[in-house]
Symmetry: D2
Subunit: 241 residues, 4 copies
């Protein structure tokens, strides 16, 4: 049995009303149910800043991680309307997504935040538009990199189907500079099959948004993705053992 | 008796640990106590995004308003790590601070947010570095304008003492284009006396940060400021009645 | 005869190759010819930063003004890749466009630049997306305001035809706070008739881009616009005398 | 004889008046003289956008390269006040500095610009605050990387003296992922000795600003630096041959 688990990371974004209030809690509840059924998948939820507290409280004692969608590359202090990593740590998050294609960061800010997150014992998931950008950030040693071709985000056309070579090339380029970082597949992930393919192409999981967040029943979609992730992961790591 | 009340607005900023967690709650509790003692002052608390939910819950049923420190000038949807006004409304805030000198906005974004806030029935407090900027935003009809010379922010030297002419000139220029907007004095407000002077100079209250947020006992400072605000306000409006 | 002249301002933008090199010079040459024929129109050319020197040299001794398309709100010094107003002044420009809807500025930066431009004796043309924004910047006393609904920019559908009420409302709101500022009509200006209507609606001229810059023969379009501007201007100011 | 030459790159920044007009031309003239005396050094001048044309004209037929200090990560077209790479190419520059610590870029924009520059046959010099950032951008295959600890910029305390380990560590980390990129030393370079040390520490040259730009006699400083560069370069490459 491989110690690592496949990863199912859910970016709530800021859909209205789906990402907020009772809707956000509903996704958290779906994660609790999926977690109860399957131990062999790591679930990460990334609600908006304003919903983090509620989601963290909902997940108390449950082995589901909560990430912020962003952190501002600033020191705490006389700053207004910004959220430094220290404030997120205080709140109890486990990690942070950075450099999403909808919230890109300057290179030096990415490094500043990765380094500070490490000090605060927060995990970092960096998004990369392209394989080369994934390799570039891999040098800075984040915990995870999600490769997301922005032209597929929100389309329902998964990168694993439409551009598998983006994934295989990312795995290749990233591994060349960093073997420890976990690579996720993002953009357009809609079904369990997309998750399955993503893992078969060499990544450890997916970063998914609207397919779960805007679903009528987030639990059903999340469950299907978890199942497929586990299946693909077992097949992959059985074959390599 | 004048229907309007003096305003005591507290910007928590992002001091660590003072603006977060139990510290943030402690300021909320201080506000509850001050509100219990004095009815004739309007209290506004502006914690970081991540603390809004907790502070709002703490103030349930209490006549203290909660404002966000900022809102992103974006429509809800596929946006990551941003907080649109709709998400704040959902959470239950009463209003939002915009264009703080530590988080300045583009002019067109200020107008976009003022207009959307009005539609969502959220109050807007705009910060202005200088009298002319106060007059400029006054044209866009926010609910409140806080004039804060940035060089005094965080110094403990209040604008009402060091640069009273900035305040009187702001009142004059702003009133010329908009008589309805409430004008606040910001920057360096440290004592009840600063609050008293701010109101005597023609504004309806203050925007204060570190003097309360970093105080050993926020309650004592807030209480003193509330008292001075009420005193100055009564004197001013008695004299004009 | 009214001392003021109608204004024909040409934003070169950064079309490739139309805004650069010999193409930029060609527009400058067209302006020289139009200026030779008509004295009663003020022509302003706004090429990209990199073309300013050549265009200024081409126009030496000719009564055509050259504006930059933007200036960075920074003091000269250890700044890399930014152009402060001092550098533009040194070069010999007459003024600067600020806050174009393709390059929006923070409110406090607009004021900083207006104030510095006045000190350096540079004219300032501020762009405003909407009437209220026009009125807001009018408080800061720029020399000119161009009202440009961004949804019409580059469409070839002129605001004077499609949304005349945007222009009349701008004139009304701006005049309420500032009677001295010259108001221009922007967005979608394509023909002499558009220019004519813009002036009849109460503005002093137009800010035009692609219709001249991407024209096969910039001279013909510019000439037609100059003629229409003069005609409308004479009619308007005869009637008001 | 090693085909490669040491590099002396001069960032004019935007000092007033030193970086503009006759002062800018004066630096170009100094470069012509130094180039006449020494063939075995590559000189790069990076004046502000507005001075590029004049400097390029001054250097016509002279083997000195002209770089822009920045390029905007945008396609040419309806953009106002921005300079895309195509406009720079049109003008005749040889390359561009990107991501200077005074003008940092988002990671994806750096990659976009590197790729487009390659297509346009423009050289790219990327600045990096720290060794790790240098290694990160090295993955994206720019032509040159200048490592510049920002805390030393403009101090007159050269990184080669104050923090030689920053340079050696940069060389080590960058070489690990990219052996072709030329590494320069930046920040605080003031004397020929600083240049000598920079090259002895394993880089191919320097990025220098105020020491030349604000010098009473730019020629003397540039000459001294060129001499030291050649000396260090010959010693280094003799020993490795």
């Amino acid at each position: 049995m491989h110690p690592l688990k496949p990863v199912l990371a859910v970016n709530f974004k800021a859909y209205h009303p789906h990402s907020f209030g009772v809707y956000a809690l509903n996704i958290a509840k779906a994660a609790v149910k999926v977690r109860d059924e399957f131990r062999d998948v790591e679930i990460i939820l990334a609600p908006p800043f304003t919903e983090l507290y509620r989601v963290i409280r909902e997940l108390e004692g449950v082995d589901v991680k909560v990430f912020a969608q962003h952190a501002d590359p600033l020191e705490p202090g006389a700053i207004t309307g910004y959220i430094p990593l220290e404030g997120l740590k205080e709140l109890g998050v486990h990690g942070v997504i950075l450099n999403h294609s909808e919230h890109k960061l300057r290179l030096s800010d990415i490094f500043y935040l990765i380094r500070k997150a490490r000090r605060l014992e927060l995990e970092v998931l960096i998004c990369a538009d392209e394989p080369e950008i994934g390799a570039s950030v891999a040098v800075l040693e984040p915990d995870m990199i999600a490769v997301e071709p922005p032209e597929l985000i929100g389309t329902g056309i998964s990168v694993s189907r439409a551009k598998p070579e983006v994934i295989t090339r990312s795995v290749e380029l990233i591994s060349r500079v960093n073997q420890r970082v976990k690579i996720l597949t993002g953009a357009g992930i809609s079904t369990g099959e997309d998750v399955y393919t993503a893992i078969k192409l060499g990544t450890v999981g997916v970063l998914v948004a609207s397919a779960i967040v805007k679903a009528k029943d987030p639990y059903t979609v999340m469950r299907e993705m978890a199942l497929s992730a586990i299946k693909a992961f077992e097949e992959t790591h059985k074959s390599t053992n």
